[in-house]
């Protein structure tokens, strides 16, 4: 299994655009900030995919932050690492 770039608990921002990446990143999450809650590894999905995609992360978002409503609930999406960046800049190595 290839290494994950991120760790559980990292704050991440979804890129606004990524033309060469997997197109299956929901539009309403682009540019939004969330937290990694699970590292899913690399998926093999021979029916759907052309190639192996980068590792997949389960990311938690607050609906309040995504849509600007007062919902107390949460949204989860599985997003490939190529679509994610650190929300607070690259972490320093400990």
């Amino acid at each position: 299994m290839p290494d994950h770039r991120f760790r559980v608990g990292d704050r991440v921002r979804v890129l606004e655009a990524n033309p060469s990446g997997n197109p299956r990143t929901p539009v309403h999450l682009r540019g939004k900030t969330g937290t990694i809650v699970e590292l899913c590894g690399t998926m093999e999905n021979p029916l759907d995919h052309r190639d192996v995609y980068p590792p997949l992360c389960k990311v938690e978002f607050a609906i309040r932050e995504v849509f600007g409503t007062d919902s107390p609930d949460k949204l989860f999406a599985d997003i490939h690492e190529e679509w994610l960046s650190y929300a607070d800049g690259e972490p320093r190595e400990a």
């Binding site: 299956r24 309403h28 899913c40 998926m43 999905n45 995609y53 609906i63 849509f67």
Partner: protein
């Protein structure tokens, strides 16, 4: 049912989808591979009967939905090797309108559209029946295969209920299910399918899970059977991510307390989600089989609780 328009439009769209994506490509490929000929198909053809138009509008729409269900299941029964045709840019008409998969969507009043769709469905059923008959006539399919597949297809939607009931009575199975997904399902003699990884979102005292695919309609349907019509509809997909609490209350009559946090899982194809609902109180003395009867298709999407039937607007 109060939104007749949405129901009729869903039948219209689903009929087009299954005809152009699942059925007609299969007929063409079967002919191209020489398994039957076009002549075989025409020889087996019996013209469609005029569909009965009985009852009030709601009953006629329900009849339409039931007939569509038979059509979809009937297509599944004819599969010799399963494939889905990609929804390519070409056939979406991105380059040239001429290539677009086209359908004459019926116009007119709702009553007229229901009647036209009923007629179209009968015609499509006649084509499907001719195709099935031609496959049998040419020894590509036997009556025994059909009976076996019919039985398997009927068992489909209950797979989810069996999985949930076992997880309720066997905590170790539940752990394996959550950790390994499809692997664990094999223990129940259920074919695990292979559409991505199976994600299991477990409800707890304080968390209620609900599943959507905002991009298309991803679902572990090879394992749990087809989704309800509203799962593919924007009225569900767009609302549930934005306002899950209000959507569950208004579309499904499911009013969750403020103390329950709702988690919406947006499937992005690689992981297909199902909800593992909580075992209802007062079911301690029930057997695994009895428990399975409490679990509906809607419970596995998270728009209903076991034992409480969902009400769709």
């Amino acid at each position: 049912m109060h939104d007749f328009e949405a129901h009729v439009q869903a039948v219209d769209e689903d009929l087009e989808y299954y005809r152009t994506k699942r059925f007609e490509p299969r007929v063409v490929n079967t002919i191209r591979r020489g398994r039957i000929t076009f002549y075989d198909l025409l020889s087996a053809f019996q013209p469609a009967a005029t569909p009965p138009q009985e009852g009030d509008l709601e009953q006629r729409i329900r009849a339409l939905e039931d007939r569509l269900d038979e059509y979809v299941k009937g297509i599944g029964l004819t599969g010799t090797s399963d494939f889905v045709i990609e929804d390519g840019r070409k056939e979406r008409g991105d380059y040239d309108e001429w290539f677009r998969f086209a359908k004459r969507h019926p116009q007119g009043t709702l009553e007229e559209r229901v009647a036209a769709l009923a007629q179209e469905l009968e015609e499509q059923m006649a084509v499907l029946q001719a195709f099935t008959a031609a496959l049998i006539e040419n020894g590509r399919l036997t009556e025994q295969d059909l009976a076996y597949r019919r039985e398997r297809a009927q068992a489909g939607p209950w797979n989810g209920a069996k999985i949930v009931a076992r997880a309720w009575v066997d905590p170790e199975f539940k752990e394996r299910l959550i950790a390994t997904g499809r692997q664990a399902v094999r223990e129940l003699d259920i074919p695990p399918g292979r559409l991505g990884k199976l994600g299991v979102a477990e409800d707890t005292e304080n968390v209620h899970n609900v599943v959507v695919c905002t991009l298309c309609s991803c679902y572990p349907h090879d394992l749990l059977g087809d989704t309800p019509w509203w799962y593919k509809h924007d009225s569900y997909k767009q609302r549930i991510v934005r306002d899950p609490r209000g959507t569950l209350r208004e579309m499904f009559d499911l009013d969750l307390p403020q103390s329950t946090e709702i988690h919406v899982h947006d499937s992005t194809s690689d992981i297909r989600w199902m909800v593992l609902p909580q075992r209802p109180a007062g079911t301690e003395s029930m057997s695994e089989d009895q428990l399975a009867e409490l679990v509906t298709r809607d419970c596995l999407i998270g728009v209903a609780l076991p034992g409480v039937p969902a009400k769709i607007a």
